[in-house]
């Protein structure tokens, strides 16, 4: 176990205009994965070091790129400036891995410019994932405007690949 810098996580949050204040001693890097631990879990993790998963999973680094967890997106969601709210149909299609059409967007907050990362929210205020704006939201009138990068449907895709019956 190594005590890691929270830098990749804080850098990721900044993509959305959010600032995270993670207590550095409680952010732990295990292999390529980052976790946020409570003080009691941190003590336990130090005592019995050979664990696989602990506390709140924040994300992983692969080939130098940071891949966030949904827990991290939820933490960022409260502060993110860049966010869009989509209608039910667009929300469902997004969760199924599809991109977002201009027609499905109900609200835009923060930057509307091409190339910017934005969180995607349902009309219930739930963060469903994030994407990258591929056409200026101000100018585009229809068609794909946000490219899906990560959505909560990922859990379903993971479940399908490691199907275990629960009893």
């Amino acid at each position: 176990m190594k005590v890691a810098m929270a830098k990749p996580i804080e850098d990721f949050a900044r993509l959305f205009g959010a600032k995270l204040n993670l207590e550095k001693g409680l952010v732990v890097k295990k292999n390529d994965k980052f976790f946020l631990l409570s003080p009691s879990l941190e003590r336990l993790a130090r005592k019995c070091g050979d664990w696989l998963f602990a506390g709140t999973y924040l994300g992983r680094v692969e080939n130098g790129r940071f891949f966030p967890s949904f827990s991290l997106l939820s933490m960022i969601a409260d502060q993110a400036q860049n966010r869009v709210v989509v209608d039910d149909k667009a929300a469902w299609l997004f969760v199924c891995g599809r991109d977002i059409f201009k027609e499905g967007i109900l609200e835009v907050h923060g930057s509307k410019n091409k190339g910017i990362y934005t969180l995607v929210f349902s009309r219930h205020g739930e963060c469903l994932g994030f994407g990258r704006i591929v056409r200026d939201l101000e100018k585009a009138e229809s068609g794909v405007v946000i490219k899906n990068i990560l959505d909560v449907g990922d859990f379903l895709r993971r479940e399908r690949s490691t199907r275990i019956s629960e009893i």
Partner: protein
Amino acid sequence: MFGREFFVNRYRLLGWEFRDVTPKQAIRVNVMNVKGINILERLRGLGVELEKIPFLHGGYWVLCSDFSVGATVEYLLGYYSIQEVAAQIPVTLFADLRGKTVLDACAAPGGKTVQLADLMENTGVIVALDVDGRRLNALANQLERCRVKNTIVYRLDARKASKLGLKFDKILLDVPCSGNFATDKGWFRRRTLADVERNARLQREILAEAAEILKEDGEIVYATCSLEPEENELNIDWAVKNLGLETVEIKCYGEEAPTEIFGRKLDDSVGNCRRIWPGETQGFFICKLKKRERG
């Protein structure tokens, strides 16, 4: 010693007349994740027909749904878990879980781990163990989806849990077992008494390890989804006689476990356990244990 007739005859000797059943699907609301959200209304709005399970807090039968309840946004956000009814019972038998150190000794794929975290409101610590890599991946996914924050997962055999050097307030032993015909339609074709006895030995080893690492005032909840007494009443009788444990009276769905098995008289306290024959739920066996007071 195998085959449908052999096992059905054993059930008859235990007082239950065999009938084939298919348990209804059920969900359990993760209360910690739905604060301010009317999840039942949301599901009804999607056309999911639910019925409250009278003997469970937060448990609902799924009576009708045009789609899989495991493929909704609400499921993906961890608002509820899909969990068989009888499997929802064991965790509810622990008293006062908040802030405690809890061992989930055979945790994957994690349905009960999430339920523990929910009842603990993400306080304290859950140490979750399992040995199978694929099942551990499923456990990690469940923990992330359901926003569990108080759990640490080890790839470790429950029989070696003392290697962690910890003592626990609560230990959940949802032990590997032979299963039952209600959830496994090929059960009678595949299972033999030798399988059952092999599983029973493994379960006794896990019970013995748990007794070692339980705090003096701690509690163990032991559960199987097997109908075979070797994995249930006989193991608890052995634990009471050999591990310094005693059973605790529980009030939950199910009937009093028999204290005479195929002519063999067991300790009367085995009657504190609950046996659930397949019907409204799958088959199940549940027992709560604590250390016997000295002196």
